[in-house]
């Protein structure tokens, strides 16, 4: 069973990488409005590195937490800047959250999303309303926990998660960035979706289709 779960987690990262690749230019374009137009490239580099590093793993022998730790290291070394530490911390915390778990059931998925959101929040010292990726991840984590508590099935679970992330990302339009490069343009960031929140939606959608399909 554990081999199956680790494989599923690796194919989830592959799906994320493919999705990010497809949205790369769009994400860079969003970033161009309020940052330095490299967010798509950055995310693409990060997940390509994750994919390459995960390919080296012996999937029959590794734990879910090993997959997450490997992804964290690969992403950090490839990216740097601020996206690197944020996602690296997210994956590392997710690795801790799934330590000892052998099933990639909805409870584990909820734990991963929750750990990623709180990892980013701790690292970035941010909160909702800061116009960052947290505005997508934190609502997604809440939705996951709520869906789990209501015993929703996989379809309902992932639909709620993705819908909450999308609503959160859309809400960043009326926010002013106070963190990172977008903070430099202050009021000019108004009216634009935060590229970090937009890429979070891309990632969560890919997680949903990959993990729900394989469940």
């Amino acid at each position: 069973m554990s081999e199956n779960a680790a494989r599923r987690l690796v194919s989830m990262f592959q799906a994320i990488s493919d999705a990010v690749e497809a949205e790369k230019d769009h994400l860079s374009e969003l970033d161009g409005a309020i940052g330095d137009a490299d967010h798509g490239t950055t995310m693409s580099l990060g997940f390509l590195a994750v994919k390459a590093e995960l390919a080296k793993l012996e999937l029959d022998q590794v734990q879910l937490s090993d997959v997450m730790a490997t992804a964290a290291g690969a992403f950090l070394n490839a990216v740097g800047a601020s996206t690197g530490p944020l996602y690296a911390t997210a994956f590392r915390r997710a690795g801790q959250a799934v330590a000892g778990k052998t099933e990639l059931d909805l409870a584990t998925c909820a734990a991963i999303i929750e750990a990623m959101g709180s990892g980013m929040r701790e690292r970035g010292k941010g909160q909702r309303g800061d116009k960052t990726m947290l505005d997508a991840w934190l609502p997604a984590a809440d939705a996951a926990a709520a869906a789990l508590a209501e015993n929703k099935g996989a379809d309902g679970f992932w639909r709620d998660v993705v819908a909450s992330a999308e609503a959160g990302a859309n809400a960043t339009r009326s926010m002013i960035a106070t963190k990172g490069r977008a903070a430099r343009v202050r009021e000019r960031s108004l009216g634009h979706v935060d590229p970090g929140a937009a890429s979070s939606v891309v990632i969560l959608r890919a997680m949903a289709s990959s993990l729900n399909k394989a469940a």
Partner: protein, 695 residues
């Protein structure tokens, strides 16, 4: 104006009747009756009747001359751009949100802080809106307090001011009680308090209090209010809501999770202005949102970018029908609500189709492969400065001071993005930094090279990280610190925050680190080299940071090597005071002024914060952003020295040149380190680095 000295009106009148044809047009107007008429009207201040007499034509002719002159463009009437922008924004806010009235103050009024401008505007609104017999409910906050400080409304009879919420801790100076009392005093009104805490421990306690006859009487007064004055708080970490301790943090997180973006009279609202339910609802003693919305005149006074989402929510929720804010905030609200096209209307000068930088689309640079600029530069650096630095484990991204680290000495690690040379690698060497981690252009190094630096710099007594306060640097250095700690190296961190223009004093910890790094690194390096303990090194570095004040001015943008294009724009006649070293927005963008005026603006800002008295000593750094030559830096220094001399402040040492740059940006910054005996001593401690040598 002309050089006339006699009274023009008398002169005009005496000419009356003397001229009866246009042959009599004085020479200086050529043969243009329009110019003559305009001159007499606009410059000499004559009436149309007097002009008709002077020109020997009918009054109707004068009237048509004046009208035609405006159409022909002989006369242009212009309003000061900042005020015009304010009016346009106020009009648009009023229209877009259906407000009864809106007052917008210019944002870039250097004469006084925003909070005072808002206070004065709020005072004007009270003057205009308050009538005898009115009952005004008053909420609380810094801005409301400022209205009270500036208002002076005479001759109101039978006015009542009533506190809109219960009371709070008196730990700050703008409590509900003080705000209500201040406004009551300013408008000569009777003041009614709400003599209960704003937040009580339990719903039962609230009910018991509300059943008290005294509170019922007070709430009855509140229910009679026909006007209310309130501020609006954002939920940002530095907002009133956080600093006042009005709500406990645990509750705040609940509300944030439920989508709250702002607070109106102690009640949370979401982005559409809907009430957000939460644990405090049944424990809050004060006006409810429904009560507030039923009041006829609802005056909100609030400003600052941080408040845009909260203000927008309050407007959408209909809590406000008279808005008092500043131009930048007002503009932000409109933009956030999707109003476009305002930008062209509020810029006074017609927009050039092409900005001057697109005269050439690319800036010329010495480049081989644009993607290799950092590597190639570092290769050159390592070759040039082999006397001072060497790569750690062969990596150019982690450089070590030769003969710097040694057992028993605290190691000093600095670092950051490239593009600021000689920051940071120019300050690595004996007596200064022990190691530097090097990132990409304007981008933090990842944790790995920072850890390598920490390991190499460690002499067993701990390592001090000193770097500028930027989100990316903070995250990567923090991760590096965690990893170094796991390796048994004790790490302390001091973030440099010397850019006083980057954030107001209340948010001092949120400020950026810029050229003042030079002084802070120097002090930290000396302390480490003297063999002080990690605690002592950290303490004196913190002190140096607190006593270093920098303001920069940008005249032209910088261009990135990869794109060779400007990474932002500054208008042909503009400058930006307070701009950061990556092109971050500053305090004001305004018309360029003479060098002395610019220096004065910078020094005035510094003097506002630096509490130096006659006889005190300072160190001065006049730093080029890259493209500004020494010639101009000396012109700036001259004025800095004059200003300091006028206050009898002694310049202990000065540095003038390229010390912390921003690629090829045109501009300069002035940094002042306010010395004391300890800092003076450490400033003179010997050091050997590529860009600073003291012996």
């Amino acid at each position: 104006m002309t050089s006339k000295t006699s009274s023009p009106r008398k002169g005009g009148a005496s000419r009356s009747g003397a001229a009866d044809t246009s042959d009599a047009i004085p020479l200086r107007y050529g043969d243009d009756p329009y110019v003559w008429a305009c001159w007499l009207y606009y410059e000499d201040g004559m009436t149309q009747g007097e002009i008709a007499d002077a020109m020997g034509v009918s009054r109707a002719t004068v009237n048509s001359y004046l009208a035609d002159a405006r159409e022909k463009g002989i006369v242009n009437i212009s309003l000061e751009p900042a005020r015009l922008a304010s009016l346009t924004i106020a009009q648009e806010l009023k229209r877009h949100f259906g407000l009864a009235d809106c007052l917008v103050v210019p944002s870039d009024d250097n004469a006084r802080p925003l909070i005072d401008s808002l206070g004065v505007a709020g005072a004007m609104a009270l003057q205009k809106l308050m009538k005898s017999g009115d009952t005004l409910a008053v909420s609380w906050g810094r801005t409301v307090m400022s209205v009270g400080e500036h208002a002076d409304v005479q001759a109101l009879q039978d006015a009542t001011v009533v506190q809109a919420t219960g009371g709070t801790t008196a730990a700050f100076s703008y409590t509900p009680e003080l705000c209500a009392a201040s406004i009551a005093r300013a408008i000569g009104a009777r003041c009614v308090g709400i003599t209960a805490p704003a937040i009580v421990k339990s719903p039962e306690m609230r009910q018991m209090l509300l059943d008290e006859p005294l509170l019922q009487e007070q709430f009855a007064t509140l229910a009679q209010a026909n006007r209310i004055l309130f501020g609006i708080s954002s939920l940002r970490p530095n907002s009133t809501i956080h600093t006042s301790g009005f709500f406990d943090t645990v509750s705040l997180q609940d509300y944030l999770a439920a989508g709250a973006v702002g607070v109106v009279a102690g009640r949370f609202i979401d982005e559409r202005g809907r009430p957000v339910a939460g644990p405090l609802d049944d424990r809050t003693v004060g006006i409810s949102l429904d009560m507030l919305r039923r009041i006829g005149t609802r005056i909100a006074v609030a400003g600052g970018f941080d408040k845009v989402p909260a203000l927008l929510a309050a407007l959408r929720g209909g809590y406000v029908n008279v808005l008092i804010t500043d131009a930048a905030t007002g503009h932000g609200i409109l933009r956030a609500d999707g109003v476009t096209g305002l930008d062209t209307r509020i810029s006074q000068r017609p927009k050039l189709v092409q900005t001057p930088s697109s005269y050439r689309t690319h800036v010329k640079k010495f480049l081989n492969n644009p993607n290799e600029v950092v590597e190639e530069m570092l290769d050159g650096v390592v070759r040039a400065h082999r006397d001072y630095i060497e790569p750690i484990n062969g990596s150019h991204r982690a450089l070590l001071a030769k003969s710097g680290p040694r057992p028993g000495k605290v190691g000093l690690v600095i670092g950051g993005g490239t593009g600021h040379e000689p920051c940071f690698l120019g300050y690595v060497g004996k007596g200064l930094a022990d190691a530097v981690a090097v990132g990409n252009i304007f981008s933090s190094p990842p944790p790995d090279p920072i850890v390598q630096c920490a390991v190499a710099a460690s002499g067993g007594e701990g390592v001090l990280f000193v770097y500028g306060n930027y989100a990316g640097d903070v995250m990567n250095f923090e991760m590096a610190a965690e990893i170094a700690e796991e390796k048994g190296i004790k790490v302390r961190t001091v973030l440099t925050t010397d850019d006083i223009a980057s954030s107001p004093i209340e948010d001092r910890e949120g400020r950026r680190g810029v050229a003042g790094n030079f002084f802070i690194f120097k002090i930290a390096g000396a302390a480490c080299d003297r063999g002080l303990s990690l605690d002592a090194c950290e303490a004196v570095t913190r002190k140096a940071n607190l006593r270093t004040y920098t303001v920069g001015v940008a005249l032209e943008p910088c261009s990135m090597p990869q794109t060779r294009r400007h990474n932002f724009e500054i208008g042909p006649d503009d400058m930006e005071i307070g701009m950061g070293i990556h092109g971050e927005p500053g305090v004001t963008r305004e018309r360029i002024k003479p060098a002395d005026d610019i220096t004065d603006a910078i020094m005035d800002n510094i003097f506002k914060e630096m509490k130096a008295t006659a006889g005190d000593r300072v160190a001065v750094l006049v730093n080029s952003f890259g493209a500004t030559p020494l010639m101009e830096l000396y012109i700036l220094y001259r004025r800095v020295a004059q200003r300091l001399a006028a206050k009898n402040i002694e310049i202990e040492a000065n540095w003038i040149g390229h010390y912390c740059t921003s690629l090829d940006m045109v501009g300069a910054s002035i940094s002042i380190l306010h010395l004391d005996q300890e800092l003076t001593d450490l400033l003179h401690h010997p050091c050997e680095t590529a860009f600073l040598r003291i012996n």
